[in-house]
Symmetry: C2
C-alpha cells in the first residue's frame, strides 16, 4: 500500500540536500565548537555559515540569531526569558509551547480571543496592553487551522505605542508554521523575537532558531557552559544546526502556489461531495498547505484511523495534543461545539504532495464518512 | 597532514553503525511521535526501542529513562527540577552544567572540596548533609582530570541516612564521562538520578538521557506539549534518540583495557622524557582515557596551538570553558597555582586511538615544550 503523508504541520521529512549537508558533521567534522583546535574551529565555521543563512532569511544580523534545541525552547526563552515577569498579551489559539510558559510566568497573562474565522483583530490586541505589559506574543500561523495572523500590523501598532513609552513592549511571534510560505523578514513584521523550527521546514528535528533583536535581553531557561552566548547551554548540535541552515536556505515561497491549488481542490471537492462539512478557519487568511474540516456526526479520531488504514496520514488537532482527550482549544476558541471540535480533521499538504495523492484522499473520504455515520447512527 | 584527535572528553565522532541506525529516521520514517498514524507510531516504537537499550545499560526500568536535548538539560532537570528548593550538596569540581543550575537554585548549596588527587572523600560529603538537604549531586568522572568518584559508596551511605529520614535525600550523578568504561548500573551505584550524553559515547550531539528512579518527581525546566511525560517538551529528536540507543548498546567496557595501556604509555613517556611535568589527578582512580598534565613554564594555550599546527587535537581545560581566560576551577580545587593550572593540558584518548597516534604525540611533545620554554625564558 502506498503511504500518503498529509500531516506536514506535525513534521516534515528531511530533504535529501539537507541530509547531505549534515552528513560530514557526524563522523568527519565532528568537533565540539567550544574546542580551540581545528576540529572545533571547523564546527564553529559550520555554525556561523548556518547562522548567516538564517539571518539572511530573516533580514537580520547574524548576531541576532541564536540556535536552540527546539522551537519549544525558543518560545520558552521568549516568554520566560524576555517578559521579565511583566504582563503578557497573547492569543487564545497559541501553541502550548507559548501558552504553557505563559502559565508558569510570574506576571499576569491576557489571552486575546479570535474571530470565528480564527483571526486576531489588531485592535483587540492593542486594547489589552497595559502600563505593565512587557511582551506581546502572537503566532504567525496557527498550527491547527492554518490562519495567518496580522503580525506586521500588530508590530507596527506596538511600535507606535512604544514611541510614547520608556520601557518598550517586546513583540514575539512563533513563525514555525509560516516559514515555508510567508516572508519572515523581521523588519517587515516589526518583531523583536521570532521562533523557527527545523523539522517544520524539511530540516532536522532537535533544532530551533530564535531571532532576538539587537539590544533585547533574554534570560536563559537552563544553565551551564556558555554556548550560543549563554542563551542555550550545552554542546551545540552541529549537524542539526547545519541542516537547519540548509533547510532555511532552500525555502522557496513559489512552491506555495501549487500547494495552494491542491489545498483548494481538497477543500472544494470534499465540501461539495460530502454533506455536513465545514471549513474551520479563514478561507483567505490561510497558509497554503492547511485544510481543517469539521464533519458532522463523525469522530475525528475514527476518521483518522480509517484513513490511516488506507495509508493516508492526517491528524485531528495538533500532533502535540494528540494524546489528549479534551477537544482542541483552538477549535473551541473559534466557536465550535465540543462535538464539532471532536469531528474535525487537519490535512496538511507538503511541497512534494502530488495531485495523485490529493485525488486519492478525495476519493477515499466519502465512503469512509458514509460508513462512520452509519455506525454512529447519525 | 594526518589529523590525530585526542580530545574525546570534549566530543566523540559518531560511529558508523550509529549513523546507519539513525539514517532512515530523517526522510523515510520521519514521523512525529505524537502523531496517531503509522508514521507517528513508527517513531514511537523507535524511541521505545532506544529507551529499552538505555534502560538495559542502566539496569533500570524503561519508564525510568527519559530523553532530553542534552546532558546539560538532564543536569538542569536534576538540580532545578528535583532539589525542590532544598539544600544541595555537590562537589567543587562539577561541570558548569551542575554548578550553574546550583547557583540559580532557590535553596542553598554546599560545594564539598576534593583531595589534592581530585577525589571526593565520602565522609566529607556526609558531614555536609543537613536536615534540609534534598539533593546530593556528584559527578561520576571528572571531565578535566578524569578522576573517578566513589559514587557507589556515597549512594550507599545516603541510603543509610535516608532510612532515618521522612523526606529522602535524592542522589544524582552526572555520568557523562564515565559511561564508556564504567558500570552505570543504578542499583550498584544507588543513585536516584543519572545523566548520560549521546555525543560523549560515539553517539550524536543533541540528545541526553536522564534516569529517574521510580517515585522520584522532577519538575520540568521548559513548558509546552507533554513529551517524554512532560519532562522534555518539544517534538522528540527521533534520529538522535535512536542513535543514542545504538551508541549505548554498543558500549564495550573491554575496550577500556587497551585505552588504559595507551594512556599509561602517554603518562609514563611524557613524564620521563620531559622535566617539570606532573600528572593532575589520581593515577589509580582515573578513567582509562584521560591524561591531564601540568607543564612548568609553559602556557597550555600555546601548547595546544602548537600541537594543533602539527595536526594533534588536545585541550587545555574542558571544551566548555575553553573561551574563558580564568584558570580551570577543577585544577584550582586540587591545589594547583594559577600558573600551573594555565600550564595544563588534557589529552583524552578514544576507543579508536592507535599506538601510532600516541607515539606521534609522544615524539612531538618534547621539542615543542623545549621551544615554548625557550620563548618564555623559563
Amino acid at each position: 500500500m502506498k503511504k500518503i503523508y498529509l500531516d506536514h504541520a506535525a513534521t516534515t521529512p528531511v530533504k535529501e540536500s539537507v541530509i547531505e549537508e549534515m552528513q560530514p558533521f557526524f563522523s568527519e567534522r565532528f568537533g565540539n565548537p567550544s574546542s580551540v583546535h581545528r576540529f572545533g574551529q571547523e564546527a564553529v565555521m559550520a555554525i556561523d555559515k548556518a547562522r548567516k543563512k538564517v539571518a539572511h532569511f530573516l533580514g537580520a544580523k547574524e548576531r541576532e540569531v541564536g540556535f536552540t534545541s527546539s522551537a519549544t525552547e525558543a518560545n520558552n526563552l521568549s516568554v520566560l526569558g524576555a517578559a521579565g515577569g511583566g504582563h503578557v498579551v497573547t492569543s487564545s489559539i497559541e501553541h502550548s509551547a507559548v501558552l504553557n510558559p505563559c502559565k508558569m510566568s510570574s506576571g499576569s497573562v491576557t489571552q486575546v480571543p479570535v474571530s470565528s474565522e480564527g483571526v486576531l483583530r489588531v485592535e483587540d490586541v492593542l486594547k489589552e496592553i497595559r502600563s505593565d505589559t512587557t511582551l506581546v506574543s502572537v503566532m504567525y500561523v496557527n498550527n491547527e487551522i492554518g490562519t495567518v495572523q496580522p503580525i506586521a500590523e500588530i508590530g507596527k501598532a506596538i511600535g507606535e505605542i512604544n514611541k510614547k513609552r520608556k520601557k518598550k513592549i517586546l513583540f514575539h511571534t512563533d513563525a514555525v508554521q509560516a516559514a515555508n510560505y510567508l516572508s519572515c523578514d523581521v523588519s517587515e513584521l516589526s518583531v523583536d523575537l521570532l521562533t523557527l523550527s527545523g523539522h517544520k521546514i524539511y530540516g532536522p528535528k532537535g533544532v530551533g532558531a530564535l531571532y532576538i533583536r539587537e539590544g533585547v535581553t533574554v534570560s536563559p531557561v537552563m544553565y551551564g557552559a556558555s554556548h550560543e552566548r549563554g542563551l542555550h547551554p550545552g554542546t551545540e548540535n552541529v549537524p542539526a544546526i547545519v541542516g537547519m541552515g540548509k533547510a532555511v536556505e532552500e525555502i522557496d515561497f513559489r512552491k506555495g502556489e501549487e500547494v495552494k491549488r491542491l489545498r483548494d481542490k481538497v477543500i472544494d471537492e470534499i465540501t461539495s461531495s460530502i454533506s455536513g462539512v465545514t471549513l474551520n478557519g479563514s478561507r483567505e487568511k490561510r497558509i497554503p498547505n492547511n485544510v481543517n474540516l469539521a464533519f458532522e456526526g463523525v469522530e475525528g479520531e475514527s476518521l483518522l484511523i480509517s484513513l490511516d488504514s488506507e495509508g493516508i496520514a492526517v491528524s485531528t488537532g495538533s500532533a502535540c495534543a494528540s494524546h489528549s482527550l479534551s477537544p482542541s482549544h483552538v477549535l473551541l476558541a473559534i466557536g465550535l461545539s465540543d462535538r464539532m471540535a471532536h469531528g474535525s480533521l487537519r490535512i496538511s499538504l507538503g511541497n512534494e504532495t502530488t495531485e495523485e495523492e490529493v485525488d486519492h484522499l478525495i476519493s477515499k473520504l466519502p465512503p469512509i464518512i458514509k460508513r462512520l455515520r452509519e455506525i454512529s447512527g447519525r
